[in-house]
């Protein structure tokens, strides 16, 4: 895993010796997904005035970052990267984010709802839906509005959840970033309708047709750097509501009967740490994660307490402007 340095442009007098196509390590299936995603990334840069990439630092974001570096090579990605930090982000996530930004020369924007945090909103006392709305959805909308971004890339995949399965790759959002599932633009061929009325924005999902297995296999073949929390290690956890919650810092309040313990765990998804369940695992490398995934009997969002509240909570959240 030694990614190339920041894409510094040099004049090449001797083009490198070309190699035949098809010798990259990608299967025809992953190659097609990569080509499709790169096409989408370029389409947005060509058609929108001010795009931004949502960078949650998770595995999907890591794949998107990698695709962006490929799509515009030898130029660097021609848009900034926005991280909506809740203040309850895993420390390892913040470290990885800053390391990637420095290494690849990314323009990184970090936004946190300080006001809500000062008002006492936190993942323990605040209703989970309300917490998520204030710290993530509202903060995201505010950040997009204040910068005037007209298109925002997100890492959402259609295999994650039923509401996502019907969302367009180019997901039109009306005033207030609302998604109207009954009034989506038909999406034909590779011909994306990118036109926006004043006040409208677009959310764009280059990984729409990827599955969790595709993401992991791609990470493995392309040797994409990821946050170490995705790999199994001995970590301090407590068991809460049937989930293993990491003790990422001193703010975790132990409830009666809860005990810190050390387990070999990894995370399938990286949300706010007090709301993200770990799975017991011995997969210490990406190959091991894939092996466990193929053997797994539960889908990845299961680890997210945020989504558990209601069957159709994702649909509601998206209507409010969530990714």
């Amino acid at each position: 895993m030694s990614p190339p340095a920041v894409a510094v442009l040099t004049t090449r007098t001797d083009p490198p010796v070309p190699v035949p196509a098809g010798r990259s390590g990608l299967s025809p299936h992953l190659q097609r997904l990569e080509d499709e995603a790169i096409h989408i990334l370029r389409e947005v840069v060509a058609e929108f005035a001010k795009p931004v990439m949502l960078y949650s630092v998770g595995k999907d974001s890591s794949v998107m970052l990698h695709l962006a570096r490929k799509a515009f090579f030898p130029a660097p990605p021609p848009f900034p990267f926005l991280h909506i930090a809740s203040g309850w982000d895993f420390r390892a996530v913040v470290e990885h984010r800053d390391r990637m930004a420095a290494e690849y020369g990314l323009e990184l924007l970090v936004r946190t709802n300080e006001e809500a945090a000062l008002a006492g909103v936190n993942p323990f006392d605040t209703d989970t839906g309300e917490y998520s709305r204030l710290m993530l959805t509202e903060t995201l909308k505010e950040a997009l509005d204040s910068h005037g971004f007209d298109a925002a890339f997100g890492g959402g995949r259609r295999d994650e959840e039923k509401a996502r399965a019907k969302e367009r790759i180019f997901s039109h959002r009306g005033a207030g970033h609302v998604w109207d599932p009954r009034n989506q633009r038909p999406e034909l061929w590779r011909l994306f309708n990118t036109r926006l009325a004043p006040g409208d924005t677009m959310r764009v999902f280059p990984l729409s047709n990827w599955t969790e297995t595709d993401v992991w296999t791609y990470i493995q073949v392309e040797a994409i750097p990821i946050v170490p929390l995705y790999l199994a290690a001995e970590r301090r956890v407590v068991e809460r509501d049937g989930a293993l919650i990491a003790v990422d810092d001193h703010r975790l309040r132990l409830l009666p009967g809860e005990k810190e313990m050390t387990r070999s765990v990894r995370f399938r998804t990286l949300g706010c740490w007090p709301l993200t369940g770990a799975v017991e695992s011995s997969a210490t490398d990406v190959g091991g994660v894939i092996a466990e995934l193929l053997d797994s009997r539960s889908s990845e969002r299961q680890g997210r307490l945020v989504d558990g509240a209601s069957q159709a909570s994702m649909e509601r959240k998206k209507k409010e402007g969530y990714f």
Binding site: L9, T11, S27, R32, K162, R185, W189, R190, S299
Partner: protein, 629 residues
């Protein structure tokens, strides 16, 4: 455990050879589309424990299968749809076997959602058409097959579902198969595979059903895993729509894009389709290393050997096989907007990477997807499919959709609402060039007539010289023009100064004169015009022959019945006088016989009517004929 999924191998490419198939399922309401996809996902073991738990909950709340798991609930994603029990939009689902990854578009059966089906079909390589074995082919099945064909899908599976409910009857299956084969014959599918199956019970889904030993073909999943669908794009001529010019500094100018068809290789000659400028591919740049070539579907960055002007929207192509570049083209549209397609409305046309203003110049016809017949139409309503002419403000590069699904496809964006109003498929360019003769017959006389909004007719005035034919014909044309009709007047005297200048007045020359005028009148009528002929045309047989060139009822013989003595007296052109002096020979009525019509459509006795009254009679007749034809 999911034993159908490939276990990761020990090398670094565990799933390295897996290919991909994107297909859609369509069928009528209750044919069991969603159940079938749910069953495929289940049998390929893509279903995870928490999804199954959620499904059991849902099945109790919304299901239609009593205590069984209702596989359909996997697909109906949005809350409102689950409660209504219908699928209202395209849902995408994913499952994987060791050989292939599958992307499934589930599209609704309701007629009003044609647009969603077209959406799902546009990116699919294969369609699974579901039929309920008890019901057989329905209007919806035919409709979906027609849309699938129109959108260029060449591989179809006819899934005869619920075969368990007809006792696994071979006879019933063969009957449905034969009916579909007959219907689909003109739809140009490359492969049609019919499979008897039960989505609910799993027969012939992942495994061959022991209950149908008479069926020797593959189960559905095995067919989907092996069918080859991706050859067309790779074999078509090279097309590379330039998506974005990558110019990070003065030393690098790369043209990014996705190879739409064919392949590009370093050293290939390419032409910029719009400008005709030629260059050579210098490099194919990618992140890891340069490539020697890239085939259809690859998103790459090219550099060219020459400093040619190339911008987003240009198409780089094989100079030996170029796309059409034109402003006007004929196309089939799937109309997707509540506001109908009407003439002259302005849109944005997005084709390849180009987006340009365009208008619909003509609505030619609509396709009746039940009979596959085309009928004249003046507008296209929501979910209609029809042929139109598009005109863009600047030339665009394209290929006929039948030859290239990427460069022949376009969308129309409504300029005021910004909605995607139509999916379009180019039929041919109309500015001349390579396609002009090839499909010339696709625009028929009936379509031209419809475009002009009138019934073409030939009104043939016959009568003695000086009987008043030209005078009346002129008034008739003015009156019809005033009513908005499109007309053409063929006057015998005028034609003799050009087309027929080589002809004399003896009997054979007169016959040839009438033959030529008859042919010209037919062409004019084919062009959609109300054609008025004023010609002595003395011989009955010649007039009859002219009439037979035209469709039944559209040749109106008008006899201007003016007695010889009256004509001689009027003598407006001095012909009778000259004939008396021997300066004109073969004057009809004087030197040659005139054969009056036996059953003319109208007789005008000019001794009783003045010219204007006579013209009114003719106009009445024309308008009445137009109503009845």
């Amino acid at each position: 455990m999911p034993d159908t999924l490939a276990p990761p191998a020990n090398d670094s490419l565990p799933l390295g050879l897996r290919s991909e198939l994107r297909f859609l399922t369509c069928g009528s309401v209750d044919d069991g589309k969603s159940t079938l996809i749910g069953r495929l996902i289940h049998d390929a073991s893509g279903l995870l424990d928490d999804q199954i738990a959620s499904l059991r909950n849902d099945s109790r709340r919304f299901g239609t299968t009593d205590d069984e798991i209702d596989f359909a609930l996997l697909l109906d994603g949005l809350e409102a749809e689950r409660e209504q029990g219908i699928t209202i939009d395209v849902a995408y689902r994913f499952f994987t076997t060791p050989r292939r990854a599958f992307v499934v578009a589930d599209t609704p059966g309701h007629q009003q959602y044609t647009r969603n089906m077209a959406t799902g079909a546009s990116n699919a390589e294969l369609a699974v058409l579901l039929v309920d074995a008890r019901k057989g082919l329905l209007e919806q099945t035919r409709r979906h097959a027609a849309i699938v064909s129109l959108l260029g899908i060449r591989h179809v599976v006819l899934a005869v579902n619920k075969i368990d409910l007809v006792d696994f009857s071979q006879a019933r299956f063969r009957e449905i198969e034969a009916a579909f084969t007959a219907f689909a014959e003109p739809l140009a599918f490359h492969s049609v595979v019919s499979i008897p199956l039960s989505a609910t019970l799993g027969d012939n889904i992942a495994k061959s059903s022991p209950r149908m030993p008479w069926y020797a073909g593959p189960p559905l999943l095995a067919h989907l895993e092996t069918v080859e669908t991706d050859l067309e794009a790779a074999e078509a001529p090279t097309r590379f729509p330039v998506q974005w010019v990558n110019r990070p500094n003065a030393d690098f100018r790369g043209f990014t894009g996705t190879v739409a068809s064919g392949r590009v290789a370093v050293g290939d000659k390419v032409v910029v389709a719009g400008s005709g400028r030629l260059s050579t591919v210098a490099r194919i740049v990618s992140f890891e290393r340069d490539l020697a070539e890239a085939s259809a579907g690859r998103s790459v960055t090219l550099t060219l050997a020459d400093d040619v002007d190339v911008i987003r929207g240009d198409v780089l192509a094989d100079p030996k096989s170029r796309p059409t570049v034109a402003r006007r083209f004929a196309a089939d549209l799937v109309w997707m907007d509540e506001t109908p397609a009407i003439l002259g409305k302005r849109f944005l046309l997005k084709i390849g990477s180009a987006t340009v203003p365009a208008t619909i110049r003509r609505v030619t016809d609509t396709l009746d997807v039940d009979t596959l017949q085309r009928a004249p139409a003046a507008q296209l309503n929501l979910n209609a499919i029809g042929r139109v002419e598009i005109e863009s403000t600047v030339p665009v590069a394209f290929d006929p959709y039948a030859e290239n699904r990427q460069t022949g496809a376009f969308i129309l964006i409504d300029r005021s609402t910004l909605r995607t109003a139509a999916a379009g498929m180019v039929v041919e360019g109309l500015d001349g060039g390579r396609d002009v003769h090839r499909h010339a017959e696709t625009i028929t006389p009936a379509l031209r007539a419809e475009a002009k909004g009138q019934q073409p007719l030939v009104v043939w005035f016959t009568g003695l010289p000086g009987s008043g034919k030209s005078t009346i014909a002129n008034i008739v044309e003015r009156k019809l023009a005033a009513l908005g009709r499109q007309t053409m007047l063929l006057d015998g005297d005028n034609l003799r100064q050009g087309l027929n200048a080589d002809l004399g007045f003896d009997a054979p020359a007169r016959a040839e004169n009438v033959r030529r005028v008859g042919e010209v009148a037919k062409l004019m009528a084919d062009a959609g015009l109300i054609t008025i002929v004023a010609l002595v045309s003395p011989f009955r047989a010649d007039r009859v022959r002219a009439g037979t060139l035209l469709p039944e009822g559209s040749f109106l013989e008008v006899f201007v019945d003016t007695p010889y003595e009256v004509c001689r007296q009027r003598d407006p052109k001095g012909l009778y006088g000259k004939a008396d002096q021997g300066k004109v020979i073969n004057l009809t009525g004087r030197d040659q016989a005139y054969e009056p019509p036996e059953s003319p459509a109208l007789v005008l006795r000019t001794v009783e009517l003045d010219a204007d009254q006579a013209a009114d009679r003719v106009v009445e007749l024309v308008l009445e004929k137009c109503r009845h034809l």
